[in-house]
């Protein structure tokens, strides 16, 4: 089981590193531009948010956005392509348990999220002096976020029947959720109704606890945020495992 797991993870890492020009380089450039424009140029006019200057305020959110997008993109594209070119059959005929397949793909998503997130962190460090309040909160939030969105990407890939299907969810669901999850602002500045609504968005909890790890301030209790993320991971893991075991859109 360990060898099979390791094989899937290595294969996944080789897959996205082989095409690093598409997978690693662009998010690092795009995110650095976000920081330069929103943080560096406009931030001075916006002033402080949650007690820190705007540039430092948005850095955790922007790093986490790249983690979300890349973890999701890795599993959704890799698993969908495996279905598309039928190479998923290589796994289906082998004695690899469904949990191992799922864990392998999720681990691939986590690694890509980490590599790109770290790339952004390093790129940002050239322009801004970064401080980390608690590295363990940062790492834990990163890990839970990457797991959650790798699982979401996997489920999307199971249902996807065309390339359109793997871009609809990121564009019309993931992107709005990400932007409305307090990535560029503190939810405290929203009217009460929108504050309440934001609390139904899981990305809010991720951004909040990630920001806690960097800046030491948050709008929700860290335990609540972690509990929300862990609960959602468990729910999506059960769904993903069920779909894989049932062979939905994989076996007829």
């Amino acid at each position: 089981m360990w060898i099979a797991y390791k094989t899937i993870v290595v294969k996944e890492i080789l897959r996205f590193t082989r095409i690093w020009v598409q997978t690693i380089f662009p998010p690092v450039i795009t995110t650095s531009l976000y920081l330069l424009i929103f943080g560096g140029l406009m931030g001075e006019r916006i002033g402080d948010m949650q007690g820190v200057d705007y540039l430092h305020f948005i850095i955790p959110g922007i790093i986490l956005m790249t983690v979300i997008q890349n973890s999701y993109a890795n599993t959704v594209s890799s698993f969908f392509l495996a279905k598309f070119n039928n190479s998923i059959e290589e796994l289906l005929i082998s004695p690899v348990s469904y949990w191992v397949i799922l864990l392998g793909y999720i681990s691939g998503g986590i690694v890509r999220g980490f590599v790109v997130g770290l790339g952004v962190f390093i790129a940002v460090s050239f322009f801004v002096e970064l401080q980390i309040y608690n590295i363990w909160i940062v790492l834990m939030t990163f890990l839970l976020t990457a797991i959650l969105f790798s699982l979401a990407g996997f489920i999307n890939a199971v249902f996807a029947k065309s390339f359109d299907d793997i871009s609809i969810v990121p564009t019309f669901i993931l992107m709005p959720m990400t932007y409305l999850g307090g990535m560029f602002y503190s939810v405290e500045i929203l009217p009460e109704f929108w504050q309440t609504l934001s609390k139904f968005n899981p990305i809010y909890y991720m951004v909040d606890s990630f920001r806690m790890g960097f800046l030491g301030s948050s709008t929700t209790d860290l335990l609540v945020s972690m509990s929300v993320l862990i609960t959602m991971i468990m729910m999506l893991a059960i769904v993903a495992f069920y779909l894989l075991k049932k062979g939905v859109n994989i076996k007829t």
Partner: protein
């Protein structure tokens, strides 16, 4: 003796109510070289898909070397190697990686997998291509890659779904030689093919599947013995006479130099002597049709 494969009452109905297999019973002995023939849509690939866990069966039982697939799925998977009909590898992966990864899925560590991959790639004449992306291979090379991949975990049963499609004659012959060697070493091989000559040349036993049902299962020898008529094309070096002689067998003129003869109770030597006595000297003899093909068409009701 323990059967390599034993299928009982296997039925598969797809979601659109299309019945691909109806109560199929089939057994294949250990060490056999077995042909599973059938026209397009007969149910061969469905049957293979179920045996290899790529498709869910509707009902029935599949035993592989005595192990029930429903109860010992992973053990059954380890015993089977599959070379499918369609290319099913990631075209953007290097050739060697495809084999090493497949071995990894079977729990074989990377160094052993690389050693085994080297043996197989050299045998398949793909060693020079090991670092190339699979998409850059020719059709025949891709088939050989899939054969190597099917063998990477050293299965006891090898299932080949149309292995020679798109493979040139020379490579096909060398593939046949390799398959015979594997069979001689004790590997059970189950083959589906459209090249009936391939089945006739390689396989000892045969089953014919038609519309999801087994319509014939016997030894190749017995099956071919049932075709009493042999149709041959004979070519002469000299122009044939205007009026052909009347002999104990049917003669038809094809052109000025060749005739077609249908032999029932007469063998080829007797036919050649009879023609020679009538001043028709034959230089070339070739079969007008594959005997297995004749039978296949008869059994699947497609004879013209």
């Amino acid at each position: 003796m323990l059967q390599a494969l034993s299928i009982s009452n296997l039925t598969k109905t797809y979601a659109n109510n299309m019945k691909a297999l109806s109560s199929v019973n089939l057994s294949v002995e250990q060490g056999d070289f077995f042909a599973l023939l059938g026209s397009n849509g007969a149910g061969k690939t469905t049957m293979i898909g179920i045996i290899c866990s790529l498709l869910n069966k509707t009902s029935g039982e599949v035993l592989v070397l005595g192990k029930d697939q429903s109860k010992h799925l992973n053990e059954v998977k380890r015993m089977i190697g599959l070379m499918p009909q369609e290319f099913n590898f990631n075209p953007f992966e290097p050739v060697e990686e495809i084999l090493v990864n497949q071995a990894g899925y079977y729990g074989i560590d990377r160094s052993s997998a690389k050693a085994q991959a080297e043996i197989l790639l050299k045998r398949m004449e793909l060693w020079d291509k090991r670092l190339d992306m699979a998409k850059s291979l020719s059709g025949g090379m891709k088939r050989r890659l899939m054969l190597a991949r099917a063998l990477i975990h050293q299965p006891k049963i090898l299932i080949l779904d149309e292995p020679s499609a798109g493979v040139d004659v020379e490579i096909r012959r060398s593939m046949w030689k390799f398959l015979r060697e594997l069979n001689d070493q004790g590997m059970t091989i189950i083959l589906t093919t459209h090249y009936l000559e391939e089945a006739e040349s390689l396989c000892r036993n045969i089953a014919i599947l038609d519309k999801g049902k087994i319509v014939e299962k016997t030894s190749m020898k017995k099956l071919l013995a049932r075709v009493s008529q042999q149709v041959l094309i004979l070519e002469s070096t000299e122009q044939l006479p205007d009026i052909l002689p009347t002999l104990d067998f049917k003669i038809e003129r094809l052109d000025a130099y060749s005739i077609q003869v249908s032999l029932n109770d007469v063998n080829i030597s007797q036919a050649l002597i009879a023609l020679s006595e009538n001043k028709i000297e034959i230089e070339h003899v070739r079969s007008a049709q594959n005997r297995l093909e004749t039978l296949f068409l008869r059994l699947t009701s497609k004879a013209g």
